[in-house]
Subunit: 445 residues, 2 copies
C-alpha cells in the first residue's frame, strides 16, 4: 500500500499552501496532494474569465508543487478510515500520517428559490468544465440576470456587461457589497455600476425564476418581472464537508469542520483549512461565514507549520475579513468590521473618513481620488475596521489597514506612524489619508 | 504687540503639519505660521517640475491652514528672544507661548569641490525663484551633468532626460540609491536608467568642476572629463539652524537641533521638527542624517499633540528611513536597514527575496513583476528592513513593511498574516511576496 507522511485533499489555494508550507517546515516528509480537477482555477480570477482572460489563462500552475517534490493525484477520495489512517481513492488505498481537508466550498443553492432547477440557471462553480459549459450557453444570449451583489455578483456582472450582454444585478440589501462596505463607501460603486450600463436593482428580493423548461424571467417580491435568457445565482458559498463528515470529524453549527486554533479537527492527526473549516471573527469572536483566500492561506500556513509539532506563535486568532475588488479603474477594499456591523454588534465606535488624491501634487497625471474610512473603539482608540476606495494602490492600502487590525494599532499610534510617500505613487505626507482618518477620529474623542 | 499661542517658523510639510495638528488637539489656541516663501513647493515634487509638471502646479495649497484658522505671515524671522518669548520679524515683534522651528534644510555644498562657484552650477533648492532661474538657464542647453545618484539625483536625471537633454549622472558608490537599496535590488535600476538614455557613471568621484566663468566640464578622479553646459550638485541636504542657534537652543553633533522624544529643544517652550531637528535611527539607535517627509510629518504630529501638555504614547522612537521612488513604470521602495547596512552595523541577519507578478493570474493585462526583500534578525525573526520593486502598488507595499518594522513584526507573525488579494490589484494569495519572503527567511533559520 502506498504511504505518505502528509496527504492533502483539495487542490485550491488552501490545499496548495498547506502542502508547500509543510515542505518548508518539514522538508523530509513526503507529501501528496489529491484533487478532483485536472486544472485548478485561481478562484478569485473566475469572474474575470467571463471577459478579461480565457479560462485556460486562469490556471494555478503546478510548478510550485512540483518544485517542492509534492506529488499530485487527480482523483476522487471515496472514503477515509481515520483509525487505520488510510484513505480510499478509485482503485487503491493510501496510508497517511497526517491528513488535511482542504475541500473548499461550493455555491450556495437557495432552497427557498422556486424555479432554480430550470435550464440556463447557473452558479459560479470553481470547475473548468462547468464554467466552459456555462460560457458556451451564455454566448449569443442577450439578457442575463444575476442574483446577489456581493463580490462575485458584482464582478461577474461587470465582466458580462463588457461582453455586451444586457445585465441586471439584483440585490436585496440597499447597496452592492453591503456586508463588506459601509453605505458612504458603496454608494459611489452603485452609481459606477449603473453608469457602466448595468441595470442595478437594489432592495429587491427574488420570489421566483419563471419559465418552462428554460428560464424566461425573474419575478421579484415587489411584483416586478425581469426578462432573462440566463440567470446566475451568486448568493454565497457553503463548505464542502461530506467527505469530512464520513471520516468522523466534528462539524460545527455553521456547517463547517470544527478546528482548534492550530487547525486540528476533532480527530487525531486530521487537520482542516480554508473554506471547509470553521471560522471565527477576529473582532466579534463569533463564528463567521466569511470565505476568503486571505483567511484560507493564513490557515494553510498555520496547518503546514503545525502538522508534526506545534510551533510557537502559531495560533489562528480569527478572520479579519479582508477583501478588495476593482470595477473599471476604481478599486475598493475592506478589512475588519464595517461601521454598521460594529454598531449592530454594540461596539462603541467612532469613525473617521478622509479623501484626497493618490498623487502629490494632485495635479500630476494619472491621479485618482483616494478615500479612507477607519472605525475605532471609542475608549481604546484601537482600529477594528477600515475601508479604502481609490485607484490601483487601494489594493495594498487595505493590507496596511489589515495589518493594523491584526496588530491592534490604535489611532494614536497610527497618527505618528512613518509613512513613505512619493509624488508619483502616493498621497502627500501632509494629507496621507490613513493618518488623516485617524486624526478625524482623535478630534472626535 | 501681536501675540500668538503658537508660532511655527517654516512653511514646508513639517511646519504645516505641526500647525494643523496643534489645532486638532488644541482647537482654541491661536496659531501663526511664518514662512519666507510666497508659495511653498511640494518638496518631493520638485524633481518632477523639470518635465512632468510646471512649478506652479507643485504648490502646497494653503487651504489646509486657512481651513483651520491658522494665520500665515510671509516674512523673514530676524531674531528670537526666548526669555521674553518673542520673535522679531521685519517691522514688528510678535509674542509666542510655544515656538516651533520647522526651518528645514538646504542643499549641501561640498566644501572639497573645486569650481563649484562657477556659473551654471546649481543645486536642487526648495525655492520657486531659484528653480525658475535654474530652469530658464537649462532651457536650450544640451549637456547636463548631475553629481550624486541618491533619490534627488536619479529623479532629476530622469526628468531632464525626458526633456531631451544629454544627461550624465555621476555616483561615487557602485550603484544608484546605494544607501537606500541593496545591490540585488538597485542593479535593475542602474540598467533601466541606462536604457532610458542616461549616461550613468558609477564608482566615479568628482575632482573638479572646470571652465572659466562658466562651467565647461566635470573632471573625475579617474582622469575622465565630461563636457558640461550645466552641473547640478545633488549630494544631500544640511539642516537650517542659523536662526535656532541664535535663539540659544542646543545643536547636536550632526549639526541639527537637539530634541527630546517629544520634539522639545533644550530651551523651554521651543520645539523643533523636520529636517532641522536631530534624528536617531529606529534600529541602530545612532544619530542619522536621513531627511524625509515621512519622518518630518511624524515628528510634526508628535510636536503638535504635545505643545501644551505631554500626551500618552507620543514618543518618537527614531526614523525608520522609509522611501519610495519611480522611474518610468518601475517603482522602488525601501524601509529600515538595507542588508549591507545591517551587516556593516554587525546585526546578525537573514534575508529573503521573492519575485512574482502583481496580478493573478500573471496572464492578466497590466501585470508587472514585483520583488520583495526582507531583512530579519536571525535570533528573533524581527523584521528590520525591507525593499520592494515593482509596479505602482510598490508605493503602498513599502508602507506595509514600514508598519511591520515599527510594530516589530517577526517573520513568524508575517507568515500567517491575513493579506487581502485581488486578481486585478495584487499578487496571488499563494505567492504574496511579503509572505513568501518571510517564508524564505524561515526556511533558512
Amino acid at each position: 500500500m502506498k504511504s505518505y507522511d502528509v496527504i492533502v485533499i483539495g487542490g485550491g489555494p488552501a490545499g496548495i499552501i498547506t502542502a508547500m508550507t509543510s515542505k518548508t517546515y518539514y522538508p523530509d516528509k513526503s507529501v501528496l496532494l489529491i484533487r478532483r480537477e485536472k486544472n485548478v482555477l485561481v478562484p478569485c480570477g473566475i469572474p474575470y474569465t467571463m471577459s478579461t482572460i480565457t479560462i485556460e489563462k486562469n490556471y494555478i500552475p503546478d510548478a510550485g508543487l512540483s518544485g517542492k517534490s509534492i506529488d499530485i493525484l487527480v482523483t476522487e477520495v471515496m472514503s477515509i478510515d481515520s483509525n487505520a489512517k488510510k484513505i480510499s481513492v478509485k482503485d487503491e488505498e493510501i496510508k497517511y500520517d497526517r491528513l488535511v481537508f482542504a475541500t473548499g466550498s461550493r455555491p450556495l443553492e437557495p432552497s427557498w428559490l422556486k424555479g432554480k432547477e430550470k435550464k440556463n440557471v447557473f452558479y459560479i462553480e470553481k470547475s473548468e468544465d462547468y464554467l466552459n459549459a456555462m460560457k458556451s450557453e451564455i454566448t449569443g444570449k442577450k439578457k442575463i440576470v444575476i442574483i446577489g451583489a456581493g463580490f462575485i455578483g458584482v464582478e461577474v456582472a461587470d465582466e458580462l456587461n463588457k461582453e455586451k450582454h444586457s445585465v441586471t444585478l439584483i440585490e436585496k440589501l440597499p447597496h452592492v457589497l453591503a456586508l463588506a462596505i459601509d453605505h458612504d463607501f458603496s454608494c459611489n460603486l452603485d452609481e459606477k455600476l449603473k453608469s457602466r450600463g448595468i441595470n442595478l436593482m437594489l432592495g429587491e428580493s427574488v420570489k421566483e425564476i419563471a419559465g418552462g423548461d428554460k428560464v424566461k424571467s425573474v419575478i421579484l417580491e415587489s411584483g416586478k418581472s425581469i426578462d432573462a435568457d440566463i440567470v446566475i445565482i451568486a448568493v454565497g458559498y457553503s463548505p464542502n464537508t461530506a467527505l469530512a463528515k464520513s471520516s468522523g470529524v466534528l462539524v460545527g453549527v455553521k456547517g463547517a469542520i470544527w478546528v482548534d486554533e492550530y487547525m486540528r479537527t476533532s480527530v487525531k492527526d486530521i487537520f482542516a483549512v480554508g473554506d471547509c473549516s470553521e471560522k471565527k471573527s477576529f473582532i466579534t469572536r463569533k463564528l463567521s461565514n466569511i470565505m476568503l483566500a486571505s483567511t484560507a492561506t493564513s490557515e494553510a500556513r498555520i496547518a503546514g507549520a503545525n502538522l508534526f509539532k506545534l510551533q510557537v506563535l502559531r495560533t489562528f486568532t480569527g478572520t479579519i475579513g479582508i477583501f478588495s475588488t476593482r470595477v473599471g479603474e476604481s478599486a475598493l477594499g475592506s478589512a475588519g468590521l464595517t461601521e454598521s456591523q460594529a454598531v449592530e454588534e454594540n461596539f462603541d465606535v467612532i469613525s473617521g473618513t478622509f479623501e484626497t488624491k493618490d498623487r502629490h501634487p494632485g495635479t500630476l497625471p494619472d491621479s485618482s481620488t483616494i478615500k479612507v474610512k477607519l472605525i475605532a473603539s471609542r475608549l481604546s482608540g484601537i482600529i477594528i475596521g477600515g475601508q479604502v476606495s481609490g485607484g490601483e494602490s487601494a489594493g495594498e492600502m487595505i493590507n496596511i489597514i489589515g495589518l493594523m487590525i491584526q496588530k491592534k494599532v490604535s489611532v494614536h499610534e497610527l497618527m505618528i506612524m512613518q509613512i513613505g510617500t512619493h509624488p508619483l505613487l502616493t498621497a502627500a505626507p501632509t494629507v496621507y489619508p490613513l493618518v488623516k482618518a485617524a486624526e478625524q477620529i482623535i478630534s472626535k474623542l
